[in-house]
Subunit: 330 residues, 2 copies
């Protein structure tokens, strides 16, 4: 395994310079940073896994601030990804849930700074723009499943457009030409990104965008049920429905079953989220796009520990792909 | 609001003695402890809410160790209850997820002790017997949704028998006399407690226990579906089904709908858990017994902060009640 000295030799810089780059020291020129990052990548150098062994070193801490924890299982997946990445580096993850209350968020950041954490990850439970406490930047920080409205903070988010595109391409590959979309609320990055991906996929198959087939709701089963009832009663109903999430898909299942139709024979259904408790256990099992919650949590910690040298300077975002989970509904 | 001095005067002891009782100092006689606890209750004294204001005092920490976080939304509810109770007392809750791995658990306990936390809550995501790391008792500690096999640690768990009893009583109150149970796996406190409650409720209505109506599975939709198909095809099928959890109930819904029967007219269904994403959004909405996850998390922290003086000496357990959530399936 490569050592920090190998990286220094490969990059033609000193040991100290490599360390400065890894620890995001401000006084490093961009050219040097790039050289070191390239050497780290070339040698597949993993700076902390060995060094930060929890048996031999004083414990280091990283803080994870989450907004809401109860209503979605996603918070769990983000935390789990972050937790496992932290353990791998011998780091203790301190998780603080603030329920999205600005006062508690500010207090949490202060407490974590006081504790001299090595970094802070700030996560939301759905993809959106945020205005985190100003002091967040007093430590190395990263946003998870959100981005700063002003655009200057590093962020890891799902690639919503790719998700919508791949979901629709999957339905196209099954021979569907009349594909409806029951999406979430307008204005959210998830809704708009998936819609754009859907449109792009239709275009790629030379299919016209038909407004009558595209509906928006509030992410719940009831929205899926309502819109599916309307869509299925159209003179020329869709043969496939792409849903904004698995809850919407669950409502679509109820509507289709009540109308005496069959999934996937009469209408194919694809969801988003891969919410295990629903998707894996509907009848038939729901094909869905898994959002990279676990991976976002993991990647955020790897970024903060320096175990992964993502270039996130100047507000750049990493967009992680959504993954098609094939079951029986398509 | 009562002060610590009022408590001391009321109990006829010194200020220091009250403080010792609150902080669980070992050298206090049982008689004195009881006297102080009574005074605290009489005066409704809340020791920490005022004193431990986060603006004016050095931050204190309490650790929360959880076993698995991803697969169930329950972990979220326990953490949320704990988090809110901690904030109320101006305490920062440090949550560590260990995935149930003994090595990580031991490391987490060590790290929390090093951090000099005021206490540690150790939570599991379903009710079971555990063998937590030995060092857990180096700090004030409490088990949440679990209990030590050896019985010596304080614990907060759901009252499973009351839950099974109330669920069955609810079905009886709707006029049902032929009530089936599709329960979880044998040997778990949840399964056995709910079964005992079911039997006790039948007895209370002078109904015989019929083995043919009682099934066991693995907590999943597929188990509910399978057993409901069998039960509904009996020569004398049940008019109501009490399910071990909401996932089982979701499978029962699928079976009943496929058989062309109606809920609740042909068969009433009640679940357990009040797993929001399922129970509130099935068609019809699922009546279910909410387990006290939030309350267990909250109560554990109140115990550790001394904001609530539960008497949990010598391995006593607090059993918190399950609550009937009435929807349209019964």
């Amino acid at each position: 395994m490569a050592t920090i000295k190998d990286v220094a030799a490969h990059a033609g810089v000193s040991f100290k310079t490599v360390s400065r780059v890894i620890n995001r020291h401000p006084h490093v020129t961009d050219a040097v940073r790039q050289k070191v990052l390239r050497a780290i990548e070339d040698l597949d150098y993993r700076p902390n896994i060995v060094a930060r062994n929890m048996r031999t070193r004083k414990t280091e801490y990283i803080g994870l601030i989450t907004d809401q924890i109860m209503t979605t299982p996603f918070s769990g997946a983000i935390i789990k990804g972050a937790q496992e990445a932290a353990w791998t580096s011998g780091i203790m993850l301190l998780t603080v849930n603030t329920d999205g209350q600005p006062e508690l968020e500010a207090a949490a950041v202060n407490m974590l700074l006081e504790r001299q954490v090595a970094g802070i990850a700030y996560a939301t439970m759905f993809h959106k723009a945020v205005a985190p406490p100003a002091k967040l930047t007093d430590a190395p920080c990263i946003l998870v499943d959100c981005f700063s409205a002003s655009g200057e903070l590093p962020a890891i988010v799902p690639d919503e457009m790719q998700g919508g595109y791949d979901a629709t391409r999957h339905l196209l590959s099954r021979g569907h030409r009349r594909i409806a979309m029951i999406n979430g609320k307008r204005g959210y990055p998830g809704t708009e990104g998936r819609l754009n991906g859907y449109r792009k996929a239709l275009e790629s198959a030379d299919l016209a965008y038909d407004e009558a087939l595209v509906r928006f709701g509030d992410w719940w089963q009831e929205d899926g049920y309502h819109h599916a009832c309307c869509l299925m009663k159209l003179p020329d109903p869709p043969t496939a429905i792409c849903c904004g999430n698995d809850r919407i898909a669950m409502g679509v299942f109820a509507a289709v079953h009540e109308l005496g139709a069959a999934i996937p024979d009469d209408v194919a259904v694809i969801g988003f989220d891969n919410m295990e408790v629903i998707a894996a256990h509907l009848r038939p099992g729901l094909t869905t796009m898994a959002l990279p919650y676990y991976e976002m949590g993991q990647r955020a910690i790897e970024y903060l520990t320096g175990d992964r040298c993502d270039d996130l300077q100047n507000g750049r975002r990493i967009e992680l792909p959504c993954l098609l989970i094939q079951r029986e509904s398509t």
